[in-house]
């Protein structure tokens, strides 16, 4: 009998345990509510009255891709680049649409024929140790030239191949570009093949324009891959810690980055206040929940990216004064592969656009606080947004406008009928392969998308794979015939509508072997022609033309844009910081700590 009573005891204990656990869950709600402060108001003005000094810690869910300005092409890389290096032009926290001169002295001068761009650079900007010399225009020229070399591997050559003599393929070794001239130490002149100076000037905010001293970098760039990534010469108010030979001792990949002041930085040449003494970035804070709680409850910390939606709920309803939101300048969408049945039928695609609840998809990402529901492609706070109908979009497209954000099955039925399906639902047998990430929010979004498609009668096979594999192994490989790629998004490279639409939807850019980002496989000659024309337009006409292309892509039903993201940024109580709208992250060179 002793065994039997022991068993009863065990059952009782487990039941009690469940109670304790339940009580614990309820309890934490009430305890954290007592933390809430009355100071309220999440919006912060960009006033710059910060205190000097202090050490800031950033908890980051991932590492930078590269520190090398010629190689980085990822927000986290830009976030470290902005306080440590100086592109020709960059964005202050105040204005997301118009950049200010940074390394450059003034706005670029564009010739009458739109084929020459001249940039003057400031005097008195010096490299950090161990280079210690003044920046010259030749360093900018070298930065462009090395970008195209295979050893460096610049990732957005499309924006700069318009320069005369620019390589069309990665070069072996650094090759001179005839279209870049440096008449004196403060002047760079770019000669372009076509009259595309407006778009080209807008692209001069990209990290490719960060000066690189050839005399110092040559030996690193000779290696394949270039080792300049661990020997970067800095020009900003801060630098990654290094030793006397320039080796970046403060950069521990996958672990941390320590950033200190650059002793050669001259405050009078820069718009950045640079209050902090040092910055420490923990790049392995992968548990989003833990990291967010640490930042909220801790001191002198910021978070690199969105908190999980349960913590967002606490921030908005209880904590209130430790976050700010900033438009991410991009769209998230569900592309529909126009080459794979059943999405090869345009009426089926339009029916899906009509019946799909974007509201449900947004809720899966955290609800209305994570962004506005998209009604077209070009996002808010971005050139061309108003021309494309603003938040209202295009009311004349009955299958996709501001009135069917929660999905409208009647309109969907109309288009299913147009596709020959009289029941008003999908009637075919083609199974849709859907690929998404195996972690939230990608997973949540995938489950919602699957549900939405099943609601309309589709058969869906959902594959959840690790985040990095979603694109590189599936969506970017046309031969995998992914019908719908979940979690696709496109975010601005610079403030110009061309960069928002062309890479994603231009038919001539489809890459059939790999690395294809036209997930919809949209190949509409009319869209391509309109893009080629709009690329040369300037001023208001340029915005109107790209807004028209925005609509054409909707008419082709290439995908369902469902959210224009806002990024929610989180900080500790004693941190005073402002977001930079260009990267939609905290701007560390404007951040201060209240002592």
């Amino acid at each position: 009998m002793t065994r039997s009573s022991l068993r009863f005891l065990l059952v009782g204990m487990l039941a009690a345990l469940a109670f304790v656990v339940a009580a614990c869950g309820g309890d934490s709600n009430s305890s954290s509510s007592s933390d809430s402060s009355s100071s309220g108001g999440s919006a912060q003005s960009t006033d710059t009255g910060g205190q000097n000094g202090g050490k800031l810690t950033m908890l980051a869910s991932s590492d930078v891709d590269y520190l090398d300005p010629g190689h980085t092409y990822y927000t986290m890389g830009y976030d470290v680049l902005l306080p440590t290096n100086r592109p020709l032009y960059s964005f202050t926290p105040d204005d997301a649409e118009k950049p200010v001169p940074d390394l450059a002295e003034s706005d670029p001068q564009i010739s009458k024929d739109q084929k020459t761009v001249t940039v003057k650079i400031k005097k008195g900007i010096k490299y950090a140790p161990p280079v210690n010399r003044a920046v010259t225009s030749k360093d900018v020229k070298y930065a462009f030239e090395r970008f195209f070399s295979a050893n460096v591997g610049g990732q957005y050559p499309g924006y700069f191949q318009g320069i005369e003599g620019a390589p069309t393929k990665p070069t072996t070794g650094v090759k001179p570009i005839s279209g870049i001239e440096t008449p004196d130490d403060q002047t760079v002149v770019f000669h372009l093949k076509d009259p595309t100076a407006v778009a080209f000037s807008a692209a001069l905010v990209m990290p490719i324009t960060v000066p690189v001293p050839e005399d110092y970098a040559k030996e690193f760039d000779a290696k394949n891959p270039s080792t300049y990534n661990t020997h970067v010469a800095f020009t900003g108010p801060y630098m990654v810690e290094n030793d006397s030979s320039g080796n970046l001792t403060g950069y521990k990949p996958g672990k941390s980055i320590s950033i200190v002041r650059n002793p050669n930085w001259d405050k009078s040449t820069d718009y950045r206040p640079a209050y902090l003494d040092s910055i420490f970035i923990r790049t392995n804070a992968t548990d989003a929940n833990v990291a967010a709680r640490q930042v909220i409850d801790g001191q002198s910390m910021i978070l690199d990216t969105n908190p999980p939606s349960n913590i967002l709920a606490d921030l908005v309803t209880k904590i209130k004064d430790q976050y700010t939101t900033v438009p991410s300048g991009g769209y998230r969408y569900f592309p529909m592969n126009t080459e794979v049945p059943p999405f090869d039928n345009i009426n089926v695609r339009k029916a899906v656009m009509a019946g799909f609840s974007r509201e449900a998809a947004r809720t899966a990402r955290g609800g209305k606080y994570v962004g506005d529901i998209a009604t077209h492609w070009l996002p808010p706070n971005f050139p061309g947004f108003d021309e494309a109908g603003g938040l209202k979009g295009f009311p004349d497209l009955d299958y996709f406008n501001a009135d069917n954000e929660d999905g409208n099955m009647q309109i969907a039925a109309k288009y299913f009928k147009a596709a020959g399906m009289s029941s008003g639902h999908y009637e075919g047998n083609d199974e849709i392969l859907m690929v998404g990430a195996n972690v939230d929010p990608g997973k949540a979004q995938a489950e919602v998308a699957k549900n939405q498609l099943e609601k309309m009668g589709f058969k869906v096979r959902l594959r959840l794979v690790p985040q990095d594999a979603v694109y590189t192994d599936w969506c970017q490989v046309p031969s995998k015939k992914v019908g719908m790629c979940v979690g696709a998004g496109w975010f601005k490279d610079f403030a110009d509508p061309q960069s928002m639409l062309e890479p994603v939807f231009k038919g001539s850019l489809i890459n059939r072997s790999s690395g294809n980002i036209n997930y919809s496989m949209l190949n509409d000659p009319k869209v391509d022609a309109a893009m080629d024309k709009a690329a040369l337009a300037t001023g208001e006409d340029r915005l109107k033309q790209w807004a028209a292309i925005d609509k054409m892509i909707l008419q082709d039903a290439a995908g369902i844009p469902f959210i224009w993201d806002k990024t929610t940024l989180v900080r500790s109580k004693n941190v005073k910081s402002v977001p930079n709208p260009y990267i939609a992250l905290w701007d560390m060179s404007f951040t201060s700590i209240q002592q």
């Binding site: 065994r3 039997s4 068993r7 009863f8 065990l10 059952v11 487990l14 469940a18 656990v21 339940a22 614990c24 869950g25 309820g26 934490s28 709600n29 929940n289 999980p308 939606s309 349960n310 967002l312 709920a313 606490d314 908005v316 609840s357 509201e359 449900a360 947004r362 809720t363 899966a364 990402r365 955290g366 609800g367 209305k368 606080y369 195996n438 939230d440 997973k443 949540a444 995938a446 489950e447 919602v448 699957k450 549900n451 096979r461 959902l462 594959r463 959840l464």
Partner: protein, 324 residues
């Protein structure tokens, strides 16, 4: 019953006779003895009741859900989520709350029993089939075949089981073995079977090795019985007790195994309700939505506990010596 049941009667005779009734002696079959002992174990009977309830719940899941007026387990209702897309707790119409897609937790817990039991029973049956066959053959014939199969078993046992299972689960996510294993439930069953059969085979093999040297087998052999007769009529009946006991241990083990695989994301189709997957989804938001984890957790716990207790009860009833 065949001669093989000697073992049971034999063991009964070894019991102390102190409290044996002095009255009339009635003949009782081994089955009656077994039932008599099992009935006395009240806890095991309660646990057996729970197990039966769970099985009924799994079989009649759609009916039960309809009876309670609950939505289907895959109905996503965003109106039940907060402004932040967070699930809401127990409320009228949704007694156990909803999950982060707005799906009813009770409905999913009820349907989840289907996945758990389906996987557990099918995998256990396969493990018993393969394990017993392999154990019988290797134990009885020994020789080179035994060496070969035993080394294969050693190989399987040397692998870290969960790591192997996760690897196989990922590798078979699109189906494997030339399409014989379809993605979904079959992959989970395949993985569990593949990694668990050697344990069964080992136990059976050990028993067979000692049984084949016993007198009644010797006697049978000297009478000219064929191998087939000796294996099926003499040895196998004696294995019934350990096989039943081990199978009942395997069932809860496999339920947990399935839950673990689903928790790690290599389990069933993510939209299919599974307790393990529910617990996994709930971990991130446990502080804000305890109901989402507690109820599937309790269901898992009660089911596994009940099966374990039934297993213990069966062992005691079939083999009373071991419990003393």
């Amino acid at each position: 019953m065949s001669t093989g049941t000697e073992a049971l009667i034999d063991s009964e005779q070894n019991e102390p006779v102190a409290d044996a009734p002095t009255g009339e002696i009635a003949a009782r079959s081994p089955m009656e003895l077994f039932w008599g002992r099992l009935r006395r174990d009240k806890v095991a009977i309660v646990a057996l009741g729970i197990v039966l309830l769970m099985v009924l719940m799994a079989i009649f899941a759609p009916l039960i859900v309809k009876l309670f007026g609950l939505p289907d387990p895959n109905v996503q209702n965003i109106d039940l989520l907060s402004d932040f897309g967070q699930p809401t707790g127990p409320q009228s119409g949704h007694p156990l709350g909803v999950d982060s897609r707005g799906r009813d937790v009770l409905s999913r817990v009820i349907y989840g029993s289907r996945v758990s039991l389906e996987v557990a029973f099918i995998a256990t049956a396969l493990i018993v089939l393969i394990g017993v066959t392999a154990g019988l053959i290797t134990g009885y014939y020994r020789g080179k075949l035994d060496t070969l199969v035993s080394r294969v078993m050693d190989l399987f046992l040397a692998f870290p089981v969960l790591v192997l299972a996760v690897g196989l689960g990922v590798a078979c996510a699109d189906g494997c073995l030339g399409g014989a294993i379809q993605p979904g439930l079959m992959v989970v069953i395949f993985v569990i079977t593949l990694t668990s059969w050697p344990y069964m085979a080992r136990i059976v093999r050990g028993q067979v090795l000692s049984l084949r040297e016993r007198e009644f087998v010797e006697a049978s052999r000297s009478l000219g019985a064929s191998d087939k007769r000796i294996i099926f009529k003499e040895i196998l009946p004696n294995l019934v007790a350990p096989i039943i006991v081990y199978a009942t241990v395997l069932i809860p083990q496999n339920i947990l195994y399935e839950a673990a695989l689903s928790f790690l994301g290599v389990g069933v189709d993510p939209s299919k309700p599974s307790w393990g997957a529910m617990i996994s989804d709930a971990t991130d938001i446990f502080q804000d939505a305890w109901w989402f984890m507690v109820f599937p957790g309790l269901a898992l716990l009660i089911t596994v506990l009940a099966f374990n207790i039934v297993g213990d009860g069966l062992q005691d009833a079939l083999n009373p010596r071991t419990s003393k």
